[in-house]
């Protein structure tokens, strides 16, 4: 099962390598990882996507929590949450495909952020599956380069 885990940690040198070292040392996998400062500059938020059965995810969250520099670990999938990923795609756009590419981008509410005579650079934001979907659709037209941010996630505010 895929899990999105959000980790608050001290924004100090070496902290990220404690997290990645934990994953490599214990044979846990990381599908994506993104990290940046929070509103509080001394604290960073790291979002990682990993896979494993229940007992592995339990170990992952406990082991993360055990790291001294880790403040909070949340398996965001435990509650309602929104997740987003951004992708930049450079796709071939020649005379006969330009219109088609623009149509696809429009359907996915993407933006063209760079134009050259033979290609577009496209920005799309959405869930990881939406990002994957546009990649799959543009692939036959000719993708030259892809850069993905990895997933970030946030729990939904309670409705009550």
């Amino acid at each position: 099962m895929k899990h999105t885990i959000s980790v608050l940690l001290q924004n100090k040198p070496g902290v990220l390598s404690r997290v990645t070292g934990l994953f490599s040392g214990r044979g846990f996998n990381i599908e994506s990882l993104s990290v940046a400062e929070t509103m509080e500059p001394s604290i960073s938020c790291l979002t990682l996507v990993t896979r494993g059965d229940e007992s592995i995810i339990e170990q992952i969250t406990k082991q993360l929590h055990k790291l001294i520099d880790v403040i909070k670990v949340t398996d965001v999938g435990d509650s309602e949450y929104v997740e987003r990923e951004m992708v930049l795609i450079r796709v071939k756009a020649e005379a006969q495909t330009r219109a088609e590419v623009l149509r696809v981008i429009d359907i996915f509410r993407g933006k063209v952020v760079d134009v050259s005579p033979k290609s577009y650079a496209v920005e799309v934001t959405g869930s990881a599956s939406k990002v994957q979907a546009i990649i799959d659709i543009l692939k036959p037209i000719g993708i030259q380069e892809i850069v993905r941010t990895g997933t970030i996630a946030m729990a939904r505010a309670s409705k009550k």
């Binding site: 070496g14 040392g25 406990k62 082991q63 055990k66 001294i68 403040i71």
Partner: protein, 566 residues
Amino acid sequence: MDKISGSQAIIRCLQEEGVKIIFGFPGGAVIDLYDALMDSDITNVLVRHEQGAVHAADGLARVTGEVGVALLTSGPGATNGVTAIATAYMDSIPMVILTGQVPTPLIGNDAFQEVDIVGITRPCTKHNYLVKDSKDLVPTLREAFHIARTGRPGPVLVDLPKDVVAKMIDFPEKKPIRMQNYQPNYDPHPGQIEKACKKIIKAKNPVLYVGGGVILSNANEELTELARKLNIPVTMTLMGLGGFPGSDPLSMGMLGMHGSYAANMAVANSDLLIAVGARFDDRVTGRLDAFAPHATIIHIDIDPTSISKNVKVDIPIVADCKQALIAMNTWFNTASDFNRERVAASHEPWRETINEWNSKHPMGYHSEGEIIKPQFVIEKLDELTGGDAIITTEVGQNQMWAAQFYKFNKPRCLATSGGLGTMGYGLPAAIGAKMAFPDKIVIDVAGDGSIQMNIQELATARQYNCPVKVAILNNNYLGMVRQWQELFYNKRYAGTVMEVTPDFVKLAEAYGAVGLRATKTSEVEAVIKEALATDNTVIMDFTIAREECVFPMVPAGKATTEMLLV
């Protein structure tokens, strides 16, 4: 207030933390620290190899329960300490390791004797620090001691660049430590305690499975109270030996790969396993699906990651072992709907079954006349020290025989590398233990292979008048590996024959220590007596039955009931 140097501040911190002895080896990056140390009342023990310094600090920590401290220089000094740091980490030993580092402007430049020791030791320390600003020195050191000794203990490394410790600073006042991100939980959940106690009352075949956590949290008395109150048989891991008196009729001795027949059979047939401060290590469980297959499992541990890591636990209790056991004892003392005598008596048939297993296959060996049996040597050591010595061990068969045949009746009397299995641990650890308790007999039970890994520490023992005794069970083999080759590799003794071994008697003499040798069974007692009567470091070289094996043995990957027996 007058300013003091960073290194003086560090030494003052050590004093504040109650440190009396530190073990170390100097170099360019730590001259300032050594200089400040010279003006303090802390004993500075100069070892002969940095691994020895860290093992010695570890030995001191294991026998006293205090934080052991080692001081190493940058680069090779620090890397030489890594094996010993990992040794302490695997066994959750509270330690602070101070390493020198090149000056901050040079960090990252491949400077002379620069190594990223914080990076290297990240996976084998509980936590580590590189102090880049002198004003952080004292708070960091205080935090390091706090982390080392609280929660599940462990080694903490503090890397100290030369310019940072040279600066003049104000010594900040001591304040209670509060860490938002680190708050180990000591108190058990009352609901879980009640659930556990109710299960215990109903159990027919309960077993207490005791690990090193009981020793680390000084919970041996509470554990003993619980076991005796309810008449529950006890088995211990290597790290747990001494957590319950080995001579008590309720003790089944050690379990696992070289555990007793009765202990392994009891676990396999138990209906309730109460794990206290143990971590279901593979050397204990053997094949996982066959470990305690019929048992409900209660697990008390301060580290949540230990719970349900290898074996699914039914009633987890995340707490300090001592606090949890106190809560359980209190529950049993005050619960109204429970009759202590009746519950205790209801375990009698179970104890009889265990006694039958024990008489069928007791822990034993076959005597062979004048050929010295290693088990006999350990029995004699136990007898002649009244079971009251501190035993350290090397690793291999020697370690297992010590664990099987010495009756550890008190906690903190065995210092042995359990998790990492580090050959070369025993002699420096013995020195650390002896420095902490000069009036105690301290014996390193050694193998001829392991002892050579840190034999240089004989000089340290001599320099500090530290009359530790070393009992070498000399089989002229890397015996434990040879045993595996004998049993599972068609007796192909690849790389396990020690074709050249020093004359240990002469070697002892070369260091100004005393060397004694026994080659016949009838000489063993006299040699031990003489060693104990000698006020000097002594090596006893026992020429033992060369191809003796450690039994029982659960072959790797087998169920613990599939034991090879004597």
